[in-house]
Amino acid sequence: MEIAIQLVIAGILQGGLYALAAFGLSLIFGVSNVLNLAHGEFLMLGGLFCFLIFSATGLNPFLIGLMILPFAFFLGYIFDRFLMRPLAGKKEHIRLMSSILVTLGAALCIGDVTSFLAGAEEKGVDYSMPSFFWGDLYISYLRLLAMVMIAGLTVGIHYYLKKTYTGRALRATTQNIRGAMLVGVDTSRIRSVTFGIGSMLASIAGVFYVVLLSISPDMGLTVTIKYLCIIVLGGLGSLIGSLVGGVILGLTESIVSYYNPHWGQTAAFLILVLILLIRPKGLFGK
């Protein structure tokens, strides 16, 4: 029983971490309808900047994470402005293909330039907090903090999407891009803003990554694939889907890993394929 509780806790905490970056990817897909294969690179860059500033100043990594948010937003914004916007007018089929090429190229490029400038070695921030112990159970405060931040972000984003005009325009663009244009939404700007937000979320995830695990310049594509799995699982473009998808994945991985670490890693892909068999558009997809 204790083990079960411990596994569920570990799974949910891990899932929350997955959900954070997947959230941003899902947002981007919803609004721009592109598969952003460079999403993991934003995560990596977020972690890297956190690492560099931490090494130089020794500030609290989460504080650094907040500090680099505007920068991450800007990065995502210009990424979209210069690389994705030219594709916006193209036909659906061509756009999907071109976006794969452009984001794949960008991912390779960002990864390699980073490894050239900052070195290819694994980087991790040494920052820890004592865990919370209750008998044999333990909950990592770091991960709990991650969960609280994710919950806070979810509420914040929900509020932003529901109440602000930009947020509403963003939702409108997701639901019917032509309709959004007809009411005067500058959809290209909304796209860029969304990319900025997605990049911000990825960089926060990157900060958690570099604190809890470690980062390296070539990790980008690997994590992108995992996040793509999560958002497909939850339904492309569905925000609640990416949250639920992340938690499902974290839970399954933890529980299966307990019996066999190998199958724990397999579980992610197995469960994705199974869910798509039952629901061709993911759990919350339309």
Binding site: S115, E122, S131, Y258
Partner: protein, 393 residues
């Protein structure tokens, strides 16, 4: 139509010219060229990417002294590396070794990183009859089939951890071990040998797990680890991400073993763990107790800008370079067959240690126990050569 044809031919010729081999070579060798591929990109870049610098610095050091004396020509020849990036892929390694095999001025091959890439490379060496010395590749899979044209510098992977057991046997105080292994060829071999060694010496392995390389969530394994309560936790993983991830999560879980052993401990692992890294025991292909024969090694490390503790594998590289130099000097020629004969039969000393090749082709270089003390990596074994004494955590 004629014009189009000529344009087409021109484009084709240009393509051939771009990718074609350099068709210039001197009849009388002006230098000794050593061909190699290194993973300058791809997944091994972080581990071996910097060794290009190390090799060039070594060549620079030798050339400052005039180069390597070759009896056949009666003079010293400078040494030069020709290095391609194999992007951590065997098919690239093979392609570039084939490219270098067509260049008669290349007299010697250095192997690439890791066993399965070396596998592709040794085929080329065997086919074109070019001597190849493999570095950082010591799996049984490479030595299954006899191949005259390749030798290694390392002891088999199974023996990599053999010098650790005597420490615990002598010191006592620990009884039970747990091993966490990343699922790759080399790591599994090393741990297999270690576990057999432990059992032979009366220790107990209470938990043993092999996890795939991309594992990020170690919590389920740590739950089991906490139940098994081992005195010593051993992590053997080629990927530092695996090691760092596991240790950070073990710290989160509050499990405090008496001893942590990390097979591949590098500067970045130590940095990422901060004070927690203190007293982690590891292995390096070098010991710093006796410095009389190490001057060259320390010099090229200094020039390359890293300390030996940053890269446990720097020692392998130096060992391999030195063996090449010794073999050429001893053979007194650049004749490939003679160099290869010499490599098989040569018994010399490098860094104060015996250097030879076993009948299967393994080398003689083994790993030495070290420990992180005061943020630095210091030799702790064998006792007569140790700089510091081994501590439990």
């Amino acid at each position: 139509m004629k014009r189009k044809m000529s344009v087409f031919c021109l484009v084709f010729l240009m393509a051939v010219a771009i990718i074609g081999p350099d068709l210039t070579w001197a009849e009388d060798p002006k230098e000794i060229k050593i061909g190699a591929t290194i993973a300058l990109s791809g997944r091994f870049k972080g581990i071996v990417g910097t060794f290009k610098t190390l090799g060039n610095e070594w060549a620079g050091l030798i050339n400052e002294r005039g180069g390597i004396y070759v009896k056949e020509y009666g003079k010293k020849l400078p040494i030069k590396f020709e290095i391609y990036d194999d992007a951590s892929k065997p098919e690239n390694a093979r392609k570039y070794y084939e490219k270098m095999a067509t260049d008669p001025s290349i007299s010697f091959f250095m192997g690439p990183f890791s066993s399965f890439i070396s596998n592709a490379a040794t085929t080329v060496a065997g086919k074109h009859k070019i001597p190849m010395q493999m570095v950082c590749a010591n799996d049984a899979v490479l030595f299954e089939k006899p191949n005259y044209w390749r030798v290694g510098v390392l002891v088999p992977a199974e023996d990599e951890w053999e010098r650790l057991v005597p420490i615990y046997k002598k010191k006592g105080g620990v009884k039970t071990f747990a091993t966490i292994t990343m699922d790759t060829l080399h790591n599994k071999g090393a741990i297999k040998g270690f576990e057999e060694d432990l059992k032979k010496n009366g220790f107990e392995v209470v938990y043993s797990v092999v996890a795939p390389p991309p594992t990020k969530n170690f919590a389920p394994m740590i739950i089991k680890l906490r139940k098994a309560k081992p005195d010593v936790v051993c992590i053997e993983a080629l990927s530092p991400a695996f090691t760092i991830g596991f240790l950070k999560q073990m710290r989160e879980a509050g499990y405090k073993p008496k001893e942590i052993i990390v097979g591949h401990v590098t500067k970045h692992v130590i940095d990422a763990l901060g004070p927690y890294a203190e007293n982690i025991t590891g292995l390096a292909y070098y010991y710093d107790g006796d410095t009389q024969d190490h001057k060259d090694f320390l010099e090229i490390l200094r020039r390359s800008g890293f300390t030996w503790g940053e890269y446990m594998e720097s020692g392998i590289r130096f060992w391999a370079y030195t063996r090449i130099k010794q073999a050429i000097e001893k053979a007194g020629t650049l004749d490939r067959k003679k160099i290869m004969d010499t490599l098989w039969n040569m018994k010399t000393k490098i860094m104060g240690l015996d250097s030879f090749v076993t009948p299967e082709g393994y080398g003689a270089l083994g790993a030495w126990p070290c420990q992180v003390q005061g943020g630095k990596f210091v030799s702790i074994w064998p006792l007569d050569k140790a700089v510091k004494l081994h501590n439990y955590r």
